[in-house]
């Protein structure tokens, strides 16, 4: 039985449907990321779980208890969850210690217990030296740690995170990303993590829920989502890709003058997705092309340090294909090149 489950959730704001018929199950202790472009309804979903948004229909259950349903609507303060906000939402008038201890005080624990648990968690997030500081005297990363500590110290049933890292700079973001995962592993709290940054989702989550326009596009492990996107949207949103429109017939894919062997496409597949770094590239030679080879002309190149980014125009295809090669694979603009695809590199998408 799932620990937390959302069934047929729908959230409307007036005429506008922000979340549509969303069903999702979370196992206990799982770390799930909600990933999607701005405005796709991630925050709305998260806030519905927290109880800040009242869904128009559907139900939310946690550990066998109904939080929201036709006859139920528990207010946020009774859902025993914690949340970490994009803006940190650290209370500026309280010290670090007071911020973290706030939730424990509400639970009317004894002084010693509060002191002990707060100190303990501050150590875990390496803030024990700064307990008496006010938030204004902390750096961005330290503030974010306070938010983490404050959310975790109450041992919530579910931890909700709404783009907790988007206000941090790149280095700090990477550091905090690991910190969050570390704390999750240490305390095993069921976590729902909202982000629009795919790297963040892939690095931290056990499963990724890709959302688009209020609907779920795909739910899978990071590797599956990347390697086997089901839809064009997922393919394009998770990592860079080349999307080639075409048709799948008789075990092969054809687009323009190109035809490639492709035995088993997904249902209603309309395009092929090929990652730029999965495309091999060599100089064209007169020898007969293999099944998985295409000829083209190199249009432009850019050096990105770890790779060269090439654009290759292929006769018959509307858009040039983007190809990413290691620094040693150097070609000149204008050269005739031969691209090599493998069946493993190609995915059919709806």
């Amino acid at each position: 039985m799932p620990y937390l489950s959302l069934a047929n959730l729908e959230c409307r704001f007036g005429e506008f449907t922000a979340v549509e018929n969303l069903s999702l199950d979370f196992a206990e202790g799982e770390f799930i990321a909600l990933l999607g472009p701005s405005g796709c309804g991630k925050t709305t979903t998260l806030r519905a779980i927290a109880g800040f948004v009242t869904p128009s229909s559907g139900s939310i259950r946690l550990g066998g208890r109904t939080l929201f349903g036709p006859h139920e609507n528990l207010p946020p303060e009774q859902r025993q969850m914690s949340m970490i906000f994009q803006s940190y939402a650290i209370w500026p008038h309280m010290t670090v210690f007071e911020n973290v201890a706030f939730g424990l005080r509400l639970r009317k624990l004894g002084r010693d217990e509060i002191e002990r648990r707060t100190r303990r968690i501050l150590e875990v997030v390496h803030l024990d030296q700064l307990a008496e500081r006010l938030p204004a005297e902390l750096s961005g990363g330290q503030q974010q740690r306070v938010a983490l500590a404050r959310a975790i110290v109450v041992e919530p049933k579910v931890l909700l995170l709404d783009e907790p890292l988007s206000n941090l700079d790149a280095n700090l973001r990477e550091e905090m990303r690991f910190e969050i995962r570390r704390l999750h592993d240490e305390f095993g709290i069921t976590s729902v993590y909202v982000t629009h940054d795919q790297t963040e989702a892939m690095v931290t989550a056990d499963r990724i829920v890709v959302m688009n326009r209020g609907r779920i596009e795909q739910v899978d492990s990071p590797k599956q989502v990347y390697d086997n996107p089901q839809t064009r949207f997922v393919a394009g949103f998770i990592g860079r890709t080349n999307l080639i429109d075409g048709s799948f017939t008789n075990g092969s894919f054809s687009a323009g003058s190109i035809s490639l062997p492709f035995p088993a496409p997904v249902e209603q597949a309309t395009a092929l997705s090929v990652r730029p770094h999965r495309i091999g590239m060599g100089r064209s030679h007169s020898a007969a092309k293999q099944a998985f080879e295409i000829d083209g002309t190199l249009r432009s190149r850019v050096f990105l340090g770890e790779t060269w980014e090439y654009e290759v125009a292929v006769p018959g295809l509307a858009a040039p294909l983007r190809v990413s090669r290691p620094p040693e694979d150097l070609f000149e603009t204008g050269e005739a090149v031969r691209l090599a695809l493998s069946s493993a590199a190609m995915v059919s998408v709806r």
Partner: protein, 568 residues
């Protein structure tokens, strides 16, 4: 080495000859003259006799128990007012800013109306409303069959009630400006941890805006201990003397300017002490809520309390604005206000008298508005220049200019008037009885507010916006004309309105500085109240309010409805 030094020196000189430098130098000397000199004069008057140092003025000022009691009474009133108006103004601000109470814009409008209503005019209206025997409220109370009086406005409680009523805008504005930038997430963070709505409000929301609450309370306190009109109108009949009416008494025969100066020192001391205490309270706390992206704000659902909350706000508005307005209108159009509402009692004679028969009334209307307009314009202009020069570090020494702009905040209006009188009335200035005297005093008095607003406005101006002009070939003057002024227009007009309205209601400062040709409406109204001529007084009050409202209405169109809020 020497060469670079002399070169640097040369460059510095060239910079000093810059026209903008000259403007700043002129400004600095003007401010020193207008702020520094009167303060110095006040000090010297209170400790210097004809034969050097003397303690005589101080003895006269503080040597009598009655004088000390008046001071104590003022403090008592101030503290009571601060507490009451905070307890009313802050919840109102919360309702308007954070809840889904109906009519929030309307409530804001009533607060603006409360601000526009001069406290002494409110006091006059309340004399008619709350007089112990003939006041409408008591008469209605009696009519309902009650034996006892409901209220007596001629009492300590009455004075406190009335001052508090008209101090609410300060608390409201401060609290609302702060609440408006508190993001909902800060409150959500508490609810998700298990805090109820109530606990969240008490433990999170209110403490977070504590500096603003304290700021509003302190302004309310300072305003009430320096208010002259209300205690004069209500206190004298009740035999209650406060610091300001006591100060006024030093000008009775034989006038003791020196004792008045010495007595003023006490008011300045109180003010400085309060401002210092405020700093001390807030010493370590930088409460600026760190709102990045995601600082979204959602109103709190009041549920079935929506309409009761609105009714509560309307009760306050009724006491501060509606009832007084009804009373004033009735009296303004009445032959005798005590005869109540009836057709036979209706007349336009009071307006006819004011507008066509009485030269001093029409003169005072004109004076009020042009003095206030000039003072507001000058204050806003000076404040803008100083704030801009400081924000862009155009010159060393702008810190001093800022200090001079802010010093008047510690000088109560009535004290400023005494100091101005002592400094500028005698030769060589001989400004007494001239328009300049009042305009300068109004201007100095409003400098702090204008400066705070201007600094906030300039701060909101991205300097890159100005750099963009210069790199494209525009001079500093072009920057000012094409970018700074157009972009700060809204903020400046808002601050102009604030200063302008404050000046139109100014009584404490005007009382010592008006001459026969420079009377302003507040003074004429005080004179009229002295004669018991409430009908004409109300008519004049109605004219003042009508004109002020037209100005506010026009200003709001340009500056936006929330011009009173300070937005960073």
């Amino acid at each position: 080495m020497t060469q670079t030094n002399s070169l640097a020196g040369l460059r510095r000189w060239r910079r000093l000859l810059d026209p903008s430098t000259l403007v700043l130098l002129v400004l600095a000397s003007a401010l020193i003259l207008l702020v520094g000199l009167p303060l110095f004069k006040l000090l010297s008057l209170s400790v210097l006799g004809p034969n050097g140092l003397t303690h005589d003025p101080l003895m006269t000022a503080f040597g009598r128990l009655r004088h000390l009691e008046a001071l104590g009474r003022s403090l008592y009133i101030g503290v009571a007012v601060a507490i009451i108006s905070t307890m009313v103004g802050v919840p109102m601000a919360w309702l308007v800013s954070r809840s889904n109470m109906p009519g929030r814009n309307f409530v804001t409008l009533t607060v603006v109306a409360t601000f526009v209503m001069p406290p002494y005019l409110g006091a006059v209206a309340w004399m008619l409303l709350g007089g112990p025997n003939a006041g409408w409220i008591n008469r209605a109370w009696e009519f309902l069959g009650a034996e006892t009086k409901l209220l007596n406005i001629y009492s300590m409680e009455g004075i406190i009630f009335l001052i508090a009523l008209y101090s609410i805008p300060f608390n409201f504005i401060f609290a609302r400006s702060a609440l408006d930038v508190v993001s909902s997430e800060l409150e959500d963070a508490a609810s998700i941890l298990g805090a109820s709505r109530f606990v969240t409000t008490i433990k999170i929301t209110l403490p977070m805006i504590w500096p603003a609450i304290l700021g509003g309370a302190i302004i309310a306190l300072l305003e009430s201990i320096t208010l002259f009109g209300t205690p004069a109108l209500l206190g004298i009949p009740a035999g209650i003397t406060v610091a300001t009416t006591q100060l006024w008494q030093f000008f009775e025969f034989p006038p003791r300017l020196d004792a008045a100066a010495a007595y003023s020192m006490a008011l300045i001391a109180v003010t400085v002490l309060l401002l210092w205490m405020q700093r001390w309270f807030l010493r370590r706390k930088s409460f600026t809520a760190m709102t990045g992206k995601g600082g979204e704000r959602r109103p709190v659902d009041l549920g079935r309390w929506r309409w009761p909350a609105f009714a509560a706000c309307m009760t306050v508005a009724a006491m501060a604005v509606f009832l007084p307005l009804i009373v004033l209108l009735q009296a303004a159009f009445a032959k005798a206000w005590s005869r109540g509402f009836s057709f036979s009692n209706l007349t336009l004679a009071n307006f006819d008298y004011l507008l066509f028969k009485n030269s001093s009334a029409i003169g005072s209307i004109w004076n009020t508005f042009w003095f206030s307009a000039v003072a507001a314009t000058a204050a806003v202009a000076i404040a803008l220049i100083v704030a801009y020069a400081q924000a862009r570090r155009l010159l060393p020494g702008t810190g001093l200019l800022q200090f001079l702009c802010m010093v008047p905040i510690a000088i109560p209006g009535i004290v400023l008037a005494v100091a101005f009188y002592a400094t500028f009335a005698p030769p060589p200035f001989a400004l007494y009885g001239t328009a300049a005297m009042l305009i300068l005093a109004f201007m100095i008095r409003s400098l702090p507010v204008a400066f705070i607003n201007a600094a906030a406005t300039v701060k909101s101006l991205n300097p890159e916006m100005e750099d963009a002009v210069r790199i494209l070939g525009g001079s500093r003057a072009t920057v000012m004309r094409k970018v700074v002024v157009p972009l700060t227009k809204g903020g400046l007009i808002g601050s102009w309105l604030l200063v302008f309205i404050a000046a139109t209601r100014e009584l404490s400062t005007a009382i010592f500085l008006t001459g026969p040709k420079t009377k302003v409406m507040s003074i004429v109204m005080l004179d009229l109240s002295e004669e018991g001529n409430f009908e004409v007084l109300s008519a004049l009050g109605v004219l003042l309010l009508a004109t002020a409202w037209i100005v506010v209405w026009v200003g709001q169109r340009v500056a936006g409805r929330d011009f009173m809020l300070r937005r960073p």
